[in-house]
């Protein structure tokens, strides 16, 4: 179920929040509206935690994690680290990573089984990732971009990559990740997927600018749609969207 929200007039939700299957982090903002959106959706299932990293609210881009663990950069202070350890459930391991590229959310894209990392990441970091998160790590680029965390987003159900990824690349990646992938956009044609949305196995949050077409694509590929029990079996066919929904969309727009 994809929800549109915004953080203090910015539609880049993925910058200010991190979402996994077992917890959710949100940055500290002036008002609690952003937090309350997540809280209303998720709090009965998973803890929703306020957090800051290095005093900033961009927790989505500086941290990376899945249901087993959370990695924070070396810029995170001890208090923040302690706060995270306290707030998160015990099953989640919080680990600080000494890495030159400290925006971990940008350089690592992972789900519960597989992770893609920036090709220039240190060997130790790669080991830490595979240990803490319990994933298989691949150094890959997406559509020629090294920042895999920014230009791709995937969960256990499916994934979305930068719109300029070629078909062969998608096939290759899909084979690596073992999830279906699709090229798409978020926030009215923006190709910054990691910053534009946060997603887990049953929910997604996107920016306010996202168009219905994009939401339908997101819902189909991440298998979020609650419409009927056939949602899980339905293939993420873009042509379905086009054929069934397009006529109504055009009526609305024209």
């Amino acid at each position: 179920m994809a929800t549109r929200c915004s953080h203090e007039n910015s539609h880049e939700v993925g910058v200010f929040a991190a979402l996994t299957n077992s917890y959710c982090l949100t940055g500290v903002g002036g008002s609690e509206n952003f937090y309350s959106v997540f809280e209303s959706e998720l709090s009965e299932h998973i803890p929703v935690i306020h957090a800051t990293i290095a005093g900033g609210r961009f927790v989505g881009r500086t941290t990376v994690g899945n249901r087993r663990g959370l990695l924070v950069p070396n810029t995170a202070t001890d208090q923040e680290l302690g706060h995270l350890r306290n707030s998160l459930p015990d099953s989640v391991v919080v680990q600080r990573v000494e890495e030159r590229l400290s925006a971990l959310g940008n350089i690592v894209a992972c789900n519960d089984h597989v992770a893609l990392v920036h090709p220039d990441v240190d060997r130790e970091t790669e080991d830490v990732i595979s240990d803490v998160l319990g994933v298989e790590v691949f150094r890959q680029t997406v559509a020629g971009q090294a920042l895999v965390g920014t230009y791709s987003k995937f969960t256990n159900q499916g994934g979305m990559v930068h719109p300029r990824t070629t078909v062969e690349d998608i096939e290759e990646l899909s084979g690596l990740l073992q999830v279906p992938l699709v090229a798409g956009t978020v926030n009215r044609g923006s190709d910054v997927l990691g910053g534009g949305m946060v997603v887990n196995d049953w929910s997604a949050f996107v920016g306010l600018d996202t168009t219905s077409t994009e939401i339908s694509v997101i819902e189909s590929i991440f298998k979020l749609s609650t419409g009927g029990g056939a949602g899980g079996q339905r293939q993420a066919q873009q042509s379905d969207i086009v054929t069934t929904m397009r006529s109504s969309l055009i009526d609305q727009l024209s």
Binding site: G184, R188, S190, V192, Q238
Partner: protein, 680 residues
Amino acid sequence: ARPRWAQRAAAAGSDIYSLPHLRHRHCHTLSPLTAETRPCTYLDSICPPVCGRSQSSSNSRDLLREYSRLGPATPASEMSAASGSVAAVATVVSPPARTAIQIPCCLCGTMIHPNAANQCGACLAQQFDLKAVLQRGPGGAHDISVHQCRRCRRYERPSESSSTGRYEYHEPESPELLALCLKHIPALQHSKGGEQHAKSVGVGRIHVVDAMWVWTEPHSMRLKVRLMVRAEVEGGGLGAGGGVTVQQRVMVELVVKFKQCAECNREFTNRTWHAVVQLRQKRTDGAQRKGLILLETALSKNAAVRKNVLSMETTRHGFDFYFLSLMHAKVFASYLAKVCPMRIKTTQKLVSSDVKNNTANMKHTVSCDMVPLCRDDLIIVDKHAAHAGGGAGRLSGRMCLVNKVSSAIQLIDASPARSISTEEAFAEVPADKYWKGGEDKSYRILFSSKRLCRFVVLDVELCSGGNGGDGRHHDSESQSYNGPQSGVGKYALADVEVAREADFGQSDQTYRCVTHLGHLLQVGDIALGYDLVNSVLPSDAEWSMENSLNSSCVLPDVVLVKKCKGGAVESNDGDDIEETKEEKSKSRAKSSGSKRRERRRKREEKKMKALEDAAARMGFLEDDGAADESLIENDRSAFKEELVNDPELARELERAERELAQVQQDLTPQQEDVIESEES
């Protein structure tokens, strides 16, 4: 010479590189209808959903991908050499063929290739309509208008500095006119802030990629230009993406409106002239005004003197020249005075006055009265003229012939005594002496050149007393003046015996006289002169003949004026000329009936003309402007003939022209500054 990758692609069978370089060189799309690849003929991100590739995204890696698609068999090393790009190439060994994926347009869901906006062309066009931006007039007006002058059909070029621009002539559908139209579109003017509206819509700077004409009816007052423009638009929510370049073909319509250019404006208002020079030579009607015509011819050859003249009018006795300022008029008048003797008087008339500002709008009149004496006039110099200070020196109280009229009047004694020397027969009267001495009364014209009569020279005998100045002893009469190098003086006194040409064969009537043309005449020549014996003079001329002459003056029978060149030249009167012209121009009448009609018509015309001439002579046609025209036309044609026959006249004309040209040079340094300081 194409680049190597283009040549290889051409060899591989694709010909998209023959398209002009602005098109998508690198784009090679998969046609949805057939499975074959075809070149992309759409430009940039605005294109319909066949190909949405934007040029702005073509970095070296993309290009490499495209090239590899074209030639799968090409080895990588050659390709890397051809593309010449960065180290990324070195890592690619043999890339497989790659096809771009299609994503749904984020707004409407049509499958498009990704572009910078990730929207299909239709959605982009909806959001950023460059046509509305370009079609706005200056300051948000509905129309873009180009100004054209109604009369001279020139287009106005807008200038940044002044409110009115320069007017230039352009052919319709010419590139210069296209450039002018582009200058008029405010959205394209980067410097003048015409893109305010564009910025508010969200469109950045608009560049023109291509422009061409769309044909419109010639008098429809519309100019249609088809522009290919490129603009950077800020995405509605593109975040880090930003800056989509949109290219669109837009037709802009400009309205042509009439606006009077400054030059036509000046010509239309009748309050433009502020000074007039009235050039007059008052002679009795029918007398030729050689001086005036000479001046007119000289002026027509010299454009520099005339450059300040706004317009010219012809009146009965002369011309009116209109000027913008008094200074111009005065300068013009001073030139004329250098060429001919004239009296200049300046008067002004008040048009309007502003008491508070202590200014007045005046019109000035500079009247230039030319001396009415012309060449070859026979005049009497009053003996009383000398008392008033205007005498002619030795020639006061005698009958004289006017030889030359330039800045001073040169007179020759009409009946010189034999004993005087050649130089003594001449006198110069400077212009102011003429006016001081009582003008018409003192210098009364007896004969003008219309009354010249032809004489045949029978005998020439040089006066010995007059040749003393030469220092050589001439005993032969056959010395003649052949030009400046002939070794003899131009004029010499001689005793000649002449007979009228009309009398030549018939009667034995001959006349003797003393003339100054001694070295020019030879036996058998035809000379032109005035026949005093057989003529009747007007009353005032008779009176002055009795009273104004000195006692020592002897009235001659005949006064010879000049030699006639080429004795067999016939004198035409006006009728003959017209008749011959008419005969030549009209086609021969075929039938006798039409011939009769022609003859009758010609006779009628002749009668009418004779009547008109008589009426003019008697003064009935005083107020007829047409008569003035015909008068001056006759004068001009007669002048032209004389010019042909008379080398002296031609020389005078040349001298006048030279004077004017010389005077013009004098103007340039000094007077210009004076004029400019006057005007400023």
